[in-house]
């Protein structure tokens, strides 16, 4: 939401790619500020406490956005083509923006996987999440790694917001349902596994679309919550995760 809104506003003054880039950077900085102001000084915060704090902050951001941008619905232009043009892929007509979403999504997953597995910085972040004290004993500044993880997730969130908002539109409160879906998909795929999360995302999307056959359309949004609860009760390691791997899971 923040990323999308910022990009829409900036796009009035600068070209689209630059506006998106700037929105991503601005959101990243906001992410870093949030971590430094609200999280960093906490002494050994539990995950639950962090989750509650972030929910609180998300309400704060939503209300601030309401003040800045009002209630109006906005959107970025389609990256290529327009909302009525479409591309013929083997007899199926789809909007070009969908291809952008899928393509950039794939790129982000590939980039993340490479970052976490191949770079020293990515390994440092994984080490911190696996064993914070041991990471510090290796000379890694764990505090900075947490800030960095907030920045990376803020950047990905902002980029995601920018690439889908030509299709879905963006409004001051469009972040929350997306956050719930995002969380569901993350749990469904098994936390910390971005490739599986993509698969889980597809499953959720298909389930939501087909749900209107059996349920009133109004219930579409409830699907993700229902799945989330079901998974947490039945298989907390995610459908793609094995119990063995979950024991060694990195969060």
């Amino acid at each position: 939401m923040l990323g999308g809104m910022t990009a829409v506003t900036l796009n009035q003054f600068i070209p689209l790619p630059l506006a998106i880039l700037a929105a991503v950077v601005i959101t990243m900085i906001v992410g870093a500020i949030i971590e430094i102001v609200f999280i960093r000084w906490l002494h050994k915060p539990s995950v639950l406490r962090m989750v509650i704090i972030t929910i609180g902050i998300s309400i704060l951001i939503r209300e601030t956005a309401l003040h800045i941008w009002g209630e109006s619905v906005r959107a970025l232009p389609y990256f290529t083509g327009s909302s009525v043009s479409s591309i013929n892929l083997g007899g199926v007509y789809i909007s070009s923006q969908i291809l952008w979403v899928v393509g950039i999504g794939a790129l982000v997953v590939a980039a993340l996987t490479a970052f976490f597995n191949l770079t020293m910085l990515g390994r440092q972040m994984r080490a911190c999440s696996a064993n914070r004290d041991a990471a510090r004993l290796c000379g890694i500044n764990a505090g900075n790694m947490v800030t960095l993880s907030f920045m990376v997730s803020a950047a990905i969130g902002a980029l995601g917001g920018c690439i889908i908002c030509p299709i879905t539109y963006v409004q001051y409160d469009s972040g929350t349902p997306l956050a719930i879906k995002g969380f569901t998909v993350a749990i469904l795929g098994g936390l910390g596994n971005s490739t599986a999360a993509v698969g889980a995302g597809m499953i959720l999307g298909i389930l939501e679309s087909f749900s209107i056959w059996v349920l009133p359309t109004a219930y579409k949004e409830a699907i993700s919550i229902a799945i989330l609860l079901a998974i947490l009760f039945v298989k907390p390691s995610g459908i793609f995760g094995s119990a063995e791997a979950a024991r060694l899971k990195e969060f």
Binding site: C138, R247, K249
Partner: protein
């Protein structure tokens, strides 16, 4: 190399260490022995910076480190092999070892890392065989080797080990103690905390006995080994029973 003077520390309101004073010279193996809950781990955590010293001073290479965070202390050349290994379980053996070399990256000594990697693989050939295995799936002994290898990659001047023999079979313990002696031969200084007092005093130059947060005895390893009180309390020899036989 390390000089600790009147150090006190603990958790919350609980004071565990009471006026600890000790020193370690370059090239020595010094051991700290003591019963469960004596405060051995607390002492090592304090020196390594994981918990701050409340009072007193800790000098490493003439530098006050009592208030520094662990990441700074590692850069100065003082590494801890923590109790219970604490390997990065979801990462591979090699990734674990390379993370240990992080201080070397920061010191711009990245070119030495290859040599250091060969060196620790030389010390622990088992780790090389298991390079790609997840650290969490290693056996206890292998995890202990990994924890030591990881600490060595930082090229520490002083390496502190917290109960490296815990839960290991006698043969593996022997291997690990051989390595500790070998490290001294290569110029390292070792602070070894052990429950296994007999083995530790067997390779150490000097020792300290820690009891309920106080140093109650110190001396050369031979002196401690032949001390009646140490024998009774930590070497499991019942002198009274022997005397009557």
């Amino acid at each position: 190399m390390l000089r600790i003077k009147n150090v006190e520390s603990g958790y919350g309101r609980l004071k565990v260490l009471k006026k600890i004073t000790m020193h370690i010279g370059a090239g020595e193996i010094v051991t700290i022995i003591g019963a469960n809950g004596a405060g051995k781990t607390t002492l090592l955590r304090t020196v390594s910076g994981l918990i701050p010293a409340r009072s007193g001073e800790i000098l490493f290479d003439m530098m006050e480190i009592g208030t520094l965070p662990p990441e700074k202390i590692v850069f100065l050349g003082c590494s801890l092999v923590p109790e219970g290994r604490q390997v990065f379980a979801p990462m591979t053996v090699k990734e674990n070892i390379l993370l240990g070399a992080y201080p070397q990256y920061r010191r711009k000594r990245g070119d030495q890392i290859r040599d250091d990697l060969d060196r620790v693989y030389g010390l622990f050939p088992r780790l090389k065989e298991r390079e790609r295995q997840l650290a969490g799936t290693l056996s206890g002994g292998e995890q202990q080797m990994l924890a030591i290898a990881r600490a060595l990659m930082a090229r520490p001047k002083l390496i502190m080990m917290d109960e490296p023999s815990m839960g290991l079979a006698p043969l593996v313990i022997k291997d690990i103690f051989t390595i500790v002696t070998r490290l001294r031969g290569e110029g390292s200084t070792v602070l070894l905390v052990e429950q296994n007092a007999k083995a530790a005093l067997g390779i150490a130059d000097r020792g300290y006995v820690l009891e309920t947060g106080r140093i109650i005895m110190q001396g050369t390893a031979e002196d401690l080994l032949s001390n009646r009180e140490v024998q009774r309390a930590y070497l499991g020899r019942d002198l009274d029973a022997e005397g009557t036989m």
